[in-house]
Amino acid sequence: MSKYILQAKNIHKNFITASQKIDVLKGVSLNIEKGKSVAIQGSSGEGKTTLLHVIGTLESFSSGSLTIAGKQVTKNNAAHIRNILLSFIFQNYNLLEDFSLIDNILMPARISRSNINKQSFLYKKAHELLDSVGLSKRAQFPVKLLSGGEKQRAAIARSLCNDPELILADEPSGNLDHSNSRIIHNLLIDSVRATGKSLLVVTHDKELAALCDHIYILEDGVLLDS
């Protein structure tokens, strides 16, 4: 197996609207080694989120190739790769409001059809994860009652549930105040390092970027080393 968790080669992405064709990504190549964290910075509208969604297999790309943990991404295996190898942390948390906190954490496991009951290993693991983000007392809480900071901590716990290889974070502290942001930054970086996962974070936040092993800048559809 290659030492890279992510190998993106010459990724092109364009949007076709009624009147014109917009090239957003114009040949992005990016490799991330196992256990490394990478930050991508750039001005608004440069296509950072698009790049993250393309790498996260949520969106298709026009040309190029994408390999995650040695697996070539195709239309058919995208959902499976997302479930097993990837996980997301969003700016607006995106927890499932109809479910309790613990059910949210366990959702990726449910999707991969793991057997879940109160005695199962995954259930214990979910509790440990909640403990590690300091939310163990909120396990049965409906998520809509949590604060912003708590929600993002829950999202971090959820992203680790299915033991992914690469965590994709899109402005994880974008909706939070300064002190909460710092807590999230540290928690995110610490969790990733402690579990040996790789991290790709798209952010404006220089503090968060500085915590990462590499920083790239997306400019005019191309990735530049900072």
Partner: protein
């Protein structure tokens, strides 16, 4: 399962999503309503169809074996007309089945067989006997199918005339005579018919009163064309009849009318009763005792109201204005209105009775709070309640009864002729059990056509079901049809072969199976060309009805599917709203790794679950409704002001059994339709682009 887990979460009504909850409740309600409607409607329809089939196959068996032209033109059938052993006359199937010789022809005695005659058919050097063979095959089948019964039948026609000799309801004494004449079809009574018992109506109180009235009347007069009077029977016959009557009837209570004369001994000693007194020559000759609680002083202006006092068998009367009026020693005491008393036959009175009025009863009852107890003769009295027997005791009853093997038996009254059973419509036109009359038919001789009469008496009534000629079809013993058919050419009222064999069995859905079995056995025995086997579906008079049922059922099923589909289309709108509501969650689930297929399944399951829950609710409601159908029908009748369903078509009460077929239909159709309805929103949900949704947040 992940999809089910999500689907159930989405379906549970939540306060936050009022619109979705409302729509989902509405869908469940509408589908339940339709399921309820379809189940109740189909169950009732299937039940009605079943009732009709039962009626159709009760007099006419579910299977009929009739002779073909090949049979009638065969040597086997024709030879009887040539042989002296057979009296030179053709034989019916019944006669053939019991005849000693398959080939009655004797070359020494009988005339030579014409050359153009059909050739005799032999099997193993013996003349083939299609009738005996058929009966033998049926007997063999009976060993395999225990509920199988068979019997030969014969149909004929004759003019029926019944003399209606009636007690005048006003005087109860003078007879009224009228006649009922109608052209009728005669069918032999099939004692082997297992369903016959359920078709026979039990004698009514009216019948019993008529029978007791007729006990001393002779039937001699009925052979006349215009009957003007009835005569009395001789004493020994009267005794026999009286004994037969009370052998089979236990009278429980009687009704006495205004003309009934109360014996003084019935009144308790020291009793004081209100009474109207009729005074003639300053002496009371008649008392009328009011039976009601309120006494109307002005009711009898010419009578005097007062108190009647009984003391030591003597009567005293004090009028309301305190006048003491002497009572004539031959005073008669009547009751004001028709009154009921418990009654017990005084057995020994039958032994010395010379006419009906000599019969005595011990009666018991209340008159103005006084207990009346004592004996009375049977005069101005009617039977009010009686228990009748249906098995033969020492003497047979006047109606049909059942032997040990539950076989229907007709009463025998030599002096009155043959016992016949009339359709229940004649009961409605006033015929009673015990009425006498005759069957008239034409008999051709070489020079003229003569009228012949067979005396008959009515032994009961039966429900002809849906025979097209049911209202004119009389059940008669087989010798009656044989006599008539021997005298003139046979005819068929509705295309039913006039002679054949009926085969009965419990489950009429087995008809085709049994037909095939018999057909096979007949072919093997080489007699299949002589017989035509038809199931009730092929009967000439039933064909249209069967087709009607079939097309009705197809139509109803089609309508049911359409309204179910309309109801289930609610699921589409429910799920479309749900999909729009859950757009973000769908995108998140996809980001967490849920495939498009899983997302589609979630909404498909939502559809099926909604459909299934609604079916369940609808089914429970339908079971409840069918259970209380009678109340519902009564309520509908009350609302309409007349009977909601015609008794003639639907029976006394609507069938209220849940049809398993309808249930099966619902439990297959609803989930399928719901699933189909769920597919459109499901596809819409799976087509959502997660990236776009997540970005727009």
């Amino acid at each position: 399962m992940f999809e089910l887990y999500i689907a159930l979460k989405y379906l549970l009504p939540k306060r936050r999503t009022k619109s979705t909850s409302l729509v989902s409740l509405m869908s469940v309600f509408v589908i339940s309503l339709v399921v309820w409607l379809v189940l109740v409607f189909l169950s009732v329809t299937v039940g009605i169809e079943k009732n009709w089939l039962e009626k159709l196959t009760s007099i006419n068996a579910p299977l009929r074996i009739s002779p073909t032209d090949a049979y009638y033109s065969s040597y086997y059938y024709q030879i009887d007309s040539l042989s002296s052993t057979s009296n030179y006359s053709y034989k019916t199937i019944g006669e053939k089945s019991i005849s000693n010789k398959t080939d009655p022809y004797s070359p020494e005695i009988d005339m030579e067989i014409p050359t153009y005659w059909p050739k005799a058919k032999y099997k193993n050097t013996k003349l083939l006997d299609p009738v005996k063979k058929a009966f033998q095959i049926l007997e063999e089948q009976k060993a395999q199918i225990p509920d199988l019964q068979y019997q030969d039948y014969e149909i004929s026609g004759a003019l029926l005339r019944i003399i209606l000799s009636r007690q005048d309801s006003n005087t109860l004494r003078e007879g009224k005579l009228s006649q009922l004449t109608q052209m009728s079809y005669l069918t032999t009574i099939n004692e082997n018919n297992p369903k016959l018992k359920s078709l026979i109506l039990t004698p009514t109180i009216k019948d019993l009163n008529h029978l007791i009235y007729q006990i001393d009347k002779s039937s001699n007069a009925v052979q006349k064309d215009f009957v003007t009077s009835t005569s009395h029977v001789n004493n020994s016959l009267f005794k026999t009849r009286l004994k037969a009557f009370f052998d089979n009837i236990k009278i429980n209570s009687i009704l006495v009318d205004e003309n009934w004369e109360m014996d003084i001994s019935l009144l308790p000693n020291n009793a004081t009763l209100d009474a109207y007194a009729f005074v003639y020559n300053d002496v009371i000759t008649k008392f009328v005792i009011p039976t009601k609680e309120t006494i109307n002083e002005k009711k009898y202006p010419h009578l005097i109201l007062g108190k009647l006092y009984v003391y030591d068998g003597a009567l005293f009367f004090i009028s309301n204005n305190n006048a003491v009026i002497p009572v004539d020693e031959n005073v008669s005491i009547n009751l004001e209105t028709l009154s009921e008393f418990q009654a017990d036959l005084l057995q020994e009175s039958i032994d010395f009775a010379k006419n009906v009025e000599d019969i005595q009863f011990t009666i018991k009852g209340y008159l103005q709070t006084h207990l009346i107890h004592g004996q009375t003769i049977y005069k101005n009295i009617k039977i009010n309640d009686a228990t009748t027997t249906f098995s033969k005791k020492s003497l047979s009853p006047f109606w049909c009864y059942y032997t040990d093997k539950n076989k229907l038996t007709l009463p025998v009254k030599e002096e009155d002729g043959k016992a016949v059973l009339l359709p229940k419509s004649s009961q409605e036109s006033g015929v009673l059990i015990g009425d006498k009359g005759f069957l008239s038919y034409a008999s051709s001789t070489a020079t003229s056509t003569q009228e012949q009469r067979i005396p008959i008496f009515v032994a009961g009534f039966y429900d002809p079901g849906i025979l097209p000629v049911g209202n004119r079809c009389i059940l008669v013993p087989s010798d009656v049809t044989r006599t008539i058919n021997a005298a003139n050419a046979t005819f068929s009222p509705d295309g039913t072969p006039t002679n054949g064999i009926y085969v009965w069995f419990d489950n009429f859905s087995d008809a085709e199976k049994i037909k095939t079995k018999l057909q096979q056995a007949f072919t093997e025995a080489g007699i299949s060309s002589y017989w035509k086997i038809s199931t009730f579906k092929e009967y000439e008079f039933a064909k249209d009805l069967m087709e009607q049922f079939q097309s009705d059922r197809t139509l109803f099923t089609l309508i049911a599917i359409i309204i179910l589909a309309v109801a289930c289309s609610n699921i589409i709108s429910l799920l479309v709203i749900l999909v729009n509501d859950k757009k973000k969650e769908i995108a998140v689930l996809q980001a967490l790794g849920a495939s498009k297929k899983s997302i589609a399944s979630v909404f498909g399951i939502c559809g099926i679950v909604t459909g299934s829950i609604s079916s369940l609710i609808g089914t429970l409601a339908a079971i409840f409704t069918l259970h209380n159908l009678d109340h519902l029908v009564n309520f509908l009748s009350f609302l309409q002001g007349h009977s909601a369903f015609n008794v003639a078509i639907f029976g006394k009460s609507l069938p209220n059994e849940l049809s398993m077929e309808a249930l099966l239909f619902i439990f297959i159709a609803t989930p399928i339709i719901s699933l189909i309805a769920g597919i459109i929103p499901a596809i819409k949900a799976s087509k959502l682009c997660p990236s776009t949704t997540l970005r727009s947040e």
